[in-house]
């Protein structure tokens, strides 16, 4: 598959602060690529560089295999946190400006406006729009010119649950139509639900990159406790299917392989005349996984 976007050692420093510190990303055509990181991890700075509004300190990136030429951006539809429009222009006039910049036929404007349900308000000034309407206008603007890539920065920020569901449906639909989607988010659940690929960044550093299945798959865990934790742990040394044993204050946490059978473990102990006071099998929650990835 051909890459839509490649970055090489992309860096942005503000004085001594390293906002983005040598990112190497590769986004394949047709993927839904999540950039996951806590607030302040450098996601928006990275998107700013990719969209030409922030000058990189060093490193490079290339869209569509064509380097950093400005015309690349005409093939990208962006929806950043805050929709920016000329407040005194009508919705339609605002899109005319965008169409002229992108070199798109003005006849497409009505189409994208009706796709976001704004056709009847197209003659109203953008300043009279509610936040939700402005976001829809931004969406219409992003879709203008049928872009190859959609770049979304925290698209569900500040939306109610229904709005969030709509945005996620929108992303799935767009992806189904073959568009590549790049999504920056600090919400693990969101990335897990809509993305195929993910990179996890923290303080401007790339921690991990891969498919969502590989990176964010939940891990099986078993918690046990008994009278003598040390003795329990001793018995587990050669037990099959245990990846790692963690001795906690009141119990023992076992990181186990998929398909691990807790009943068999219980029997193993009772055969040895050791009785467990506590046995819980669970999937490790993704949040913990994420916190672990981004921990110090």
């Amino acid at each position: 598959m051909e890459p839509v976007l490649v970055t090489v050692q992309l860096k942005k420093h503000y004085g001594p602060i390293q906002a983005v510190n040598g990112l190497d990303l590769a986004v394949q055509k047709g993927s839904v690529y999540g950039i996951l990181g806590p607030n302040g991890s450098g996601k928006t700075t990275t998107l700013g560089m990719l969209l030409g509004i922030t000058n990189p300190t060093s490193g490079s990136f290339s869209w569509f295999g064509k380097g950093q030429i400005d015309d690349n951006r005409k093939r990208i539809g962006s929806l950043l946190e805050q929709p920016n429009f000329y407040p005194y222009l009508t919705g339609e006039q605002n899109l005319k400006v965008v169409a002229l910049i992108k070199g798109v036929d003005e006849k497409e404007i009505d189409g994208v406006l009706s796709a976001v349900n704004l056709l009847d308000r197209k003659k109203s000034q953008a300043r009279t729009y509610s936040l939700g309407m402005r976001q829809r206008l931004a969406l219409a603007s992003a879709l203008l010119g049928n872009p190859d890539v959609l770049l979304l920065d925290e698209p569900t920020n500040g939306l109610d649950p229904q709005g969030i569901a709509e945005v996620r449906d929108f992303i799935r639909n767009q992806s189904a139509q073959g568009r590549t989607i790049i999504l920056a988010s600090h919400i693990l659940d969101e990335v897990e639900k809509v993305c195929t690929h993910v990179s996890v960044i923290k303080k401007g550093n790339l921690l991990a990159q891969g498919t969502v299945n590989d990176l964010l798959k939940g891990e099986d865990q078993v918690e046990i406790a008994g009278d003598n934790l040390a003795a329990l742990a001793e018995q587990l040394v050669n037990y099959p299917g245990i990846k790692r044993t963690e001795l906690l204050s009141g119990n023992i946490l076992l990181h186990v392989e998929e398909g691990f059978n807790p009943a068999a473990l219980n029997k193993y102990f009772s055969d040895k005349q050791i009785h467990l006071s506590h046995l819980v099998a669970r999937k490790k929650r993704l949040e913990e996984q994420f916190l672990e990835l981004t921990a110090e």
């Binding site: 509004i53 922030t54 400005d70 005409k74 962006s78 920016n84 910049i101 992108k102 603007s141």
Partner: protein, 259 residues
């Protein structure tokens, strides 16, 4: 090129502040002609001597240069707005080059300069027709060099507006600093700090004193033929150089800045 100008006009024409400021500019241009008698009076001259051909070009452009401050403030507004509305950022995200964003503004400045020069020429021709003594009616475009001087002054002033709007980003702040630069700073530098004469070609002095000079000998002699009949090449050259410089610095700032 035409595409960039179309984008700028699309943003400009529905902008109410533009309509108001441009209307005030037009009103002042007309008012000057209507109130010309009074102006001649205060100078101790007859209306024919001030508003008739060919002297009208000297006097009319002299005042029209001050009216250009309004167009300059308009340019500061629309440049600063691009930052406060974050639309400059959006334009670039949508695919405009940084250089193109400045080119577009420069094209708009050239267009407005042409329009204001046409307004000046047409109303000057009409005013001259009304006020000229019969003997002078044929001298319509003598001293017409001042019209070109006004064009250069318009370019330069609006280019200065682009520079202030770009540098300070916030419209209110930019306008205030521009006005301070226009009056106190330039005067203090010229009269108080710089050695005599060396500040004569500071930007403000060039645009308000040098390109279209006050016809002092005409006033002092109570209507003898003035010696200056056109702007000097030096003043036009310096005025144009400043216009290029202001646009150039704006371009450099826009190129380097994180938006």
């Amino acid at each position: 090129m035409l595409r960039l100008l179309r984008i700028e006009l699309l943003k400009l024409i529905p902008y109410r502040t533009f309509k108001i400021l441009f209307l005030i500019y037009l009103l002042l241009m007309v008012l000057w002609l209507v109130g010309g008698k009074g102006i001649a009076n205060t100078l101790g001259l007859t209306p024919e001597q001030v508003l008739g051909y060919p002297n009208i070009w000297n006097y009319y452009t002299l005042y029209a240069c001050y009216f250009n401050i309004i167009l300059t403030i308009l340019i500061i507004f629309i440049t600063g707005n691009e930052y406060t509305y974050r639309t400059l950022r959006q334009n670039i995200i949508d695919g405009l080059q940084r250089t193109e964003t400045v080119q577009a503004k420069v094209l708009l400045i050239i267009t407005l300069s042409i329009i204001s020069t046409i307004v000046l020429t047409i109303s000057g021709v009409i005013g001259g027709l009304i006020y000229s003594a019969d003997a002078d009616k044929g001298r319509m475009l003598e001293h017409g060099g001042f019209i070109f001087g006004y064009f250069i002054q318009s370019l330069g002033m609006m280019s200065m507006g682009l520079f202030f709007g770009t540098l300070f980003k916030r419209t209110g702040l930019a306008v205030i600093i521009f006005l301070i630069f226009l009056f106190p700073v330039d005067v203090i530098l010229r009269a108080g700090i710089l050695p005599d004469g060396s500040g004569d070609y500071m930007p403000v002095a060039t645009y308000f004193l040098k390109i279209v000079p006050f016809p002092l000998d005409h006033v002092m002699s109570h209507g003898e033929e003035p010696t200056a009949s056109a702007p000097t090449m030096l003043s036009l050259g310096v005025g144009f150089a400043y216009a290029v410089l202001f646009a150039g610095i704006s371009w450099m700032i826009t190129k380097k800045r994180d938006l």
